[in-house]
């Protein structure tokens, strides 16, 4: 009987430890993700948008990850995604189109310093800066 109780108690503790470990790994994973994604950000003259996800929706709609409240930007305008350390931008059927460095694009890879134009708004794709 006693050994059954010990086994149940140890299983409880193990479950708690594994939950704790998963939170530790989450923090470490976020750090590693920032490092391997080259820690990029999008910025216009006023706002800075941190890119902290594999798929980022840009648009005017409230559900967009990066919300740009400008009538020239479609509600669901473009999708940014990253695989193997490469950032890509995809036009998801916007009315005014997506331009990278002045060129109209449907699906293209982004490099540091690229200027993305969505409607009347320009966004610069750059390395994340430490804001004090």
């Amino acid at each position: 009987m006693e050994s059954a109780v010990y086994a149940a108690v140890l299983l409880d503790i193990c479950a708690i430890v594994l939950i704790f470990v998963s939170y530790v790994e989450k923090k470490a994973g976020a750090r590693r993700w920032s490092k391997t994604s080259d820690d990029m950000e999008l910025t216009d003259e006023i706002h800075v948008f941190h890119l902290e996800c594999d798929e980022i929706l840009i648009g005017r709609h409230a559900s967009a990850d990066i919300r740009i409240q400008d009538m020239s930007v479609s509600r669901y305008h473009a999708m940014l995604n990253v695989t193997d350390g490469k950032w890509m931008i995809t036009d998801i059927g916007s009315k005014s189109g997506v331009f990278v460095n002045g060129e109209p694009v449907r699906h293209v890879r982004l490099y540091e310093g690229d200027v993305i134009t969505l409607g009347n708004r320009n966004l610069i794709f750059r390395k994340r800066r430490v804001h004090k």
Binding site: A7, S22, W33, S37, C53, V82, D84
Partner: protein, 430 residues
């Protein structure tokens, strides 16, 4: 706390749990020779050690699910080896290794969403081939294909493929076409068609217990589509979909075979020796086991049909106690809940996680509530705990998907060729 330290801590606790369970087998178990306990202990600890060494080579972002999987699998090995007296269950040990291997395969296949999305036609073809196999080799006669040395249940392998089919087509929500005035996404129609055909085949095979699992996978996929940007689901569409589902369920109950109707409305205690045999015995054994159980191998439920698969929860409750059985279920729930801690980073990975979690949750609910007579008895396996190779391999594949969703491809190039390319691209940008 560093990654290495948390890894070591997890290893220690996983081994400690298995060690304490083996100690319980040694002190309370029903064994004829001590060699049986030593053999079982050696196999469990050896598998733990080998997996601890192999795991870091896969370079996941998180190992918590792996540890939980190993914990559950070796717990299952100890449970299954104790039913009806302590012995070494070789067949179950092989299926556990197969589950671990399939988990690795699932992880490798599913982590790169860009690559797998280009292969979705192969996934549809895979489901088609399995349906042809079901049509030719199984059916209402039997759900299994008997190969002599082992039996395979082909319908089990459709589950991970259906999850993958749903996940790989999620991005197609943007490709809407106007057909007869309706906005149509072809992939949605294909997924609906596949699910409908699979459910019809399960109906024909008399495997009605697995229909809720497929329905749960499709339902999770449907909800993920609603959440997808630009996926326009009006209230009208949702009400129509809900009404169609309700009508289909009512027609299903009306057209159900007689034995299914009998199970749906049966009072097990009025006929405990025939229709309610398994459930009455399961309930009695759970009550007799109490909180801490009779001791490994000392139960009587191993004399009842499907004690190691369909009513395995009751068998564990009897021998190990209700507390331990509930803790085992909690570990399964924790595996399913892990994507909440480490959320998937793309819609593809999110849909994949939702599908896997829906399938596991439905299977757990059907098995546990079914054996406790809270819902009609279905004969669905409890993931990782029940005996059965097909179920174990597919469950392993699906856990591989959860791990892949938490550790997607997001690494700098590793081989020399790619490194050169990467450097050149960087120079160009500068």
């Amino acid at each position: 706390m560093s990654g290495a330290l948390s890894y070591l801590l997890s290893c220690i606790f996983v081994v400690a749990v298995h060690g304490s369970m083996l100690l319980n087998v040694y002190s309370n178990g029903n064994y004829s020779s001590i060699n049986d306990v030593i053999g079982l202990s050696a196999a469990v600890i050896l598998l733990d050690a080998v997996y601890f060494i192999i795991m870091p080579f896969f370079k996941h972002r998180t190992y918590a699910v792996d540890f939980m999987l190993l914990l559950i699998l070796n717990m299952s090995m100890i449970f299954q080896s104790c039913f009806g007296g302590v012995h070494f269950d070789t067949k179950h040990f092989i299926t556990i290794i197969a589950a671990l291997v399939s988990c690795r395969i699932g992880y490798m296949l599913c982590r790169n969403h860009r690559w797998i999305q280009t292969k979705k036609k192969f996934i549809w073809a895979g489901i088609g081939i399995l349906l042809v196999v079901i049509l030719l080799f199984t059916g209402s006669r039997s759900m299994w294909i008997d190969l002599g040395f082992m039996s395979i249940q082909p319908s089990e392998f459709i589950k991970p493929l259906l999850v993958l089919a749903c996940a790989t087509s999620i991005a197609e929500q943007q490709n809407r076409k106007k057909v007869w005035g309706f906005n149509v996404v072809y992939d949605n129609l294909i997924i609906f068609g596949i699910t409908a055909v699979v459910i019809l085949f399960q109906w024909w095979c008399r495997d009605l217990g697995s229909i809720p699992t497929f329905a749960a996978i499709y339902a999770s996929c449907f909800f993920m589509r609603i959440c997808y940007p630009k996926a326009k689901f009006s209230k009208k569409t949702l009400i129509i979909a809900g009404s169609v589902l309700a009508v289909a369920a009512i027609i299903g109950i009306i057209l159900a075979p007689a034995y299914v109707k009998a199970r749906l409305f049966a009072d097990i205690w009025s006929n405990p020796d025939e229709d309610g045999y398994q459930q009455t015995k399961a309930l009695i054994s759970i009550a007799e086991g109490g909180w801490f159980g009779k001791g490994p191998g000392k139960g009587f439920l191993h004399e009842v049909f499907a004690y190691e698969s369909d009513i395995v929860f009751a068998t564990i409750s009897e021998e190990w106690g209700l507390l331990f059985a509930l803790m085992t279920v909690l570990m399964l729930v924790l595996i399913v809940a892990m994507p909440l801690v480490n959320p998937p980073r793309s819609y593809y990975h999110g849909t994949m996680c939702a599908g896997v979690c829906a399938a596991f949750t439905m299977q757990m609910a059907l098995n546990i509530f079914g054996s406790c007579n809270m819902i009609p008895f279905t004969g669905v396996t409890l993931p990782f705990i029940s005996a059965g190779g097909s179920s174990m391999v597919t469950s392993g594949l699906m856990i591989g998907m959860i791990i892949a969703a938490q550790s997607p491809v997001f690494a700098n190039p590793t081989n020399k060729k790619n490194k050169k390319k990467h450097k050149q691209q960087k120079r160009r940008t500068v």
